[in-house]
Symmetry: C2
Subunit: 215 residues, 2 copies
């Protein structure tokens, strides 16, 4: 219960009002996941959707030839698997915890009844629409930007304008998140280090220059 208290105070479910967060908490339950734990698989039947409280969750899709591509890295405060609420009850993506994470699980019927209340449903629709904006941006990125741009965009999206970043993802995961291979990322980091643009040691990234490209 202590943990729940802490959850209330963290800014989970970005954009939701305090009151609506409380309601969510009353209606769901906390689940602690370990690194690499599978929350659900693409194609699984299910009736719950989730909120990431701490840690990171990777949403992936698998291509026919077995390649996994990352749709989004969920960070604390974001909801995921909300598509389960209104369409077929099959998850369209796989969700894996990339680090030990706390996630909050809410069942479909509980949630649907929450939607009867106007302010709650507006918060919810807003979060859906925000994700839609994100996804269109993502498409734009993949289409016109190269790997370097995508790396910086990813870092900015995850950490804002911080210059010191502690990453809980492996380089391999970062590579996947920006739609490239570990080899390419490795070479990119080498080059950026030489050019004194950043340093990347273990889990710690330091940005040495202010990159205010207007992406």
């Amino acid at each position: 219960m202590n943990k729940i208290e802490r959850i209330k105070e963290s800014g989970f479910v970005t954009g939701f009002s305090e009151k609506n967060r409380e309601k969510l908490i009353e209606n769901g339950k906390l689940r602690e996941t370990r690194k690499k734990e599978i929350i659900f698989l693409e194609g699984d039947r299910g009736h719950s959707f989730y909120i990431c409280i701490s840690g990171n969750v990777q949403l992936t899709k698998t291509s026919p030839d077995g390649k996994e591509i990352v749709i989004k890295v969920i960070k604390p405060g974001e909801i995921f698997a909300e598509v389960i609420l209104f369409e077929k009850d099959i998850y369209p993506v796989t969700a894996i915890a990339v680090s030990n994470s706390d996630i909050f699980e809410i069942s479909k019927p509980d949630f649907l009844s929450l939607l009867d209340e106007k302010s709650f449903r507006e918060d919810f629709i807003r979060s859906l629409i925000r994700k839609q904006r994100y996804l269109t941006e993502q498409i734009k990125y993949l289409t016109i930007h190269d790997v370097e741009d995508r790396l910086f965009n990813f870092l900015k999206e995850q950490f804002g304008d911080e210059t010191e970043i502690i990453l809980s993802l492996s380089k391999k995961d970062v590579a996947a998140a920006i739609g490239t291979t570990p080899e390419t990322l490795s070479r990119l980091i080498l080059r950026l280090s030489k050019e004194n643009i950043l340093s990347w040691e273990g889990k710690k990234i330091t940005l040495l220059k202010n990159l205010n490209k207007d992406y």
Copy 2:
């Protein structure tokens, strides 16, 4: 008013119930657009969202260096610009009619009041979520499939399993829709013709082989 009657009978707004369609019609107005007419620009302030009744609408985003990338080609029955309803009142994409089209316009306050009704709002949320599924598929496509795959995927999405297709888009627009250049599309069509996979003359495409790749 005649036109409105016809609209009612066409299956517009995919997934909405008959009753909810009627409500929409009462609350909006029809707008007829000509080819290349701009419906709104990325960055414009606005308070309406739209439903495509006939024709096609291209949603694009512009990169800093002026390149236009197509986020989605809207086909009849689909809604667009719904993001305007709940976030900042600025369109995140540009919408251009690619052929003479009928589109239906509904203002924000009118629509919001419709949302008070449960069945209506469930239809709406469902359509949001469907679009979200589409966008995640799109990301998957751009990441792991080549131009050929993307072309066939686009045709399938727009026309189902038809083997004779009359296209209202130019090749240039198709190229943009699948995230490539006219040159590459041109070469691709040449190759596919030689291999007797399809023929593409003017606006008419004929698929000569059944391509049931499980994309």
